[in-house]
Amino acid sequence: MSPVLQGLLTIIIGVGGCVGYFYASNIILDKVIFPAKGPQAGQNINRANRVRPWLFLFPAMFALGLYLVYPVVGSFYRSLFNRAGDDFIGLANYANLFAESAFRTAVFNNLLWVLVVPAMATFLGLLVAQLTDRLAWGNIAKSLIFMPMAISFVGASLIWKFVYSANPDIGIINSIRDSMGLDPLDPLQIPFWNNFFLMFILVWIQTGFAMVILSAALRGIPEETIEAAIIDGANPLQVFFQIKVPQIMGTIVVVWTTITILVLKVFDIVYTMTGGNFDTEILPSYMMSFMFRDDGRATAVAFVIMVMVLPVMIWNIRQARKEMR
């Protein structure tokens, strides 16, 4: 069966199955298990209403449990076994990882990414949000800076491969160097700094995200606070840094953490641009180099990523609980 037909069939079965499940389960609950008639009608309605939320939740909880909760446990369990998966070796995979210089490079680079990308993207996003706020063509400018959000990491990498190309007839950077009489160089092979050239691709993608959210936050600031500051003689910079930024600090933190989480997941850019060569490996791409080869190692790397994400996860959950109160 062709995949297209299979896809159509899956949509029909998937959507039909969902509708059918919800409809049928509600009917069974109300008519068969706890019928709203007879001597216990009132009690039955209450019972049915206690059960119903779980009917609504069940498919989502099942999928979430299977596809996101189970893997956390499953990955950790698998990381305690050797390559073939039949020999329990405890934490040996982790010990081997930490002994390997490639892993330490990946961790170091990953920390660089986590420090630089969210900071730069948030800063640029805030800058653009503020600058375009009262601009006549601000919305067009924002839309264009937001555009890379729609482009895949692979597509973005290719776009920047052109920019970074060592050939002065293809790469605009080397073309500028060429016209200044400098020798062409490959930005992706300059030790240490090549990481920053890769990071900039993600900054290029994520600035639009930061801009959209921070721009909305800036608009939400009460005008009176700004007017009062101006009447007190504050200059535009003071208004921005001492009046506006403190009021949107919460949003800045949300943007920052969201991008941090993303940074820990993206392997596409390194994979496409350098394949991890020239000391540009980061954990997600390092993990992929073990995928299909050594599941024990691969899951161990994945679990290290999970541990790095954990502080943000806990912070997010606490924020969410605070809001609900």
Partner: protein, 383 residues
């Protein structure tokens, strides 16, 4: 407000210029890709895309036949015009080519300026004029015609040839269909599942609701990397293996936290009166959900659908792991990253075109539905 803020004219200009620079920095790389996809291989390797609207010097090679040689006094002479060579004539259809430089060796195709003469290694003196006419004089009979290299200014030229190659010969059409096949079910299926759960979390009262919401928030950030190995072995053990069905299930699972979170945030904000009014009138939860909540939540459903669409369309990781690696099931991102970058690493025109084919649909979706995307981002993050 502008004048209260004390912004002077100079400040305004500075702001405008800064924004223009930023927008250009953000836009130019993509334009470069777009322009490059319409240029031929020779053009790309001889001049930057920013020079595409201008003429470029391209190198050509002319193999001159010796049969026009004649004897003139005590020397032998071969005369002709380089632009008569069929390959070169093709590049100058209107016949106005001009020689910018010429040479006799492949390593130095632009060694001499037109009008000068040079000694050939095999003997004889070659002179090439700017209009392409050449004259070879030799003391010995000319038995073999020389090979002459020349650089000539060629007019800018745009072509759809790359698109033809990418779509027909490179199998990008297959990859495009595969991407579409992965994307559409993976976008539609999670929506309904998530909507029911979101309604329960937003409007139904039951013990443990707070914990479940917190769990969804936590699951939002679980790295996908963790899921790859355990789920692939799970899929293999229940017989799904690496297949489209497997990737649909995987994308559905991975998209659910965002879907539930977005939809719940939106549904909580719906007016309480409507829902309570309906309950008083005897509507069941199922009816409230299908008749009131779903239609009212359309903006949030659209936001999530766009997110999920962009995410699955652009995904490389899940496709690499959950789909078989053969050409018949490769999606575009995998095709570009694994196939084209490896085998066509130097063919910039093909790469640019393939990349553009893969980002065209997301860009269209982005520009037509930006409103929903922005709304979704705001609902998902600012709280």
């Amino acid at each position: 407000m502008d004048n209260i803020a004390g912004q002077n004219q100079g400040g305004k200009i500075a702001v405008n210029i800064t924004v223009i620079i930023l927008v250009l920095l953000w836009l130019l790389p993509t334009i470069g890709l777009f322009v490059s996809s319409f240029r031929e291989r020779d053009q790309i390797s001889n001049s930057g895309w920013w020079q595409a609207p201008f003429a470029v010097d391209l190198n050509f090679r002319a193999r001159v036949a010796a049969d026009g040689a004649r004897q003139d006094g005590d020397v032998y002479v071969l005369e002709g015009n380089l632009f008569d060579d069929p390959d070169i004539a093709e590049a100058f259809p209107d016949g106005n080519g001009a020689v910018a430089a010429f040479g006799t060796r492949a390593v130095a195709p632009d060694e001499f300026t037109p009008g000068t003469s040079t000694e050939l290694r095999r003997g004889g003196t070659l002179t090439v004029q700017e209009d392409g006419s050449f004259r070879l004089e030799s003391a010995d009979p000319i038995e073999r015609g020389p090979t002459i290299y020349l650089a000539a200014e060629t007019p800018p030229k745009f072509t759809l040839l790359n698109y033809d190659t990418v779509l027909n010969a490179n199998g990008m059409d297959r990859a495009f269909i595969n991407t579409l096949t992965v994307t559409i079910p993976a976008t539609i299926i999670p929506i309904l599942i998530a909507a029911f759960a979101a309604y329960a979390l937003a409007w139904m009262d039951f013990p443990g609701r707070g914990v479940l919401i917190a769990a969804v928030v936590g699951l939002l950030v679980v790295p996908l990397q963790l899921a790859l190995v355990p789920l692939l072995s799970l899929h293999t053990s229940i017989g799904i293996g690496q297949s489209f069905l497997g990737i649909w299930l995987a994308h559905t699972g991975f998209g659910l936290p965002l879907a539930v979170y977005l939809l719940r945030n939106y549904m909580v904000g719906l007016p309480r009166d409507i829902i309570e009014g309906a309950k008083v009138d005897g509507a069941t939860d199922f009816q409230i959900f299908t008749k009131i909540i779903l239609p009212l939540s359309f903006p949030a459903l659209a936001s999530f659908a766009i997110f999920q669409f962009l995410w699955t369309w652009n995904d490389l990781l899940v496709a690499k792991v959950f789909l078989p690696s053969g050409a018949e099931s490769q999606v575009m991102t995998v095709k570009i990253a694994d196939d084209l970058l490896g085998s066509r690493g130097g063919d910039w025109g093909i790469l640019a075109t393939a990349a553009f084919v893969s980002i065209a649909v997301p860009l269209i979706v982005f520009f037509t539905m930006q409103r929903y995307l922005v709304r979704g981002l705001l609902a998902g993050s600012v709280k």
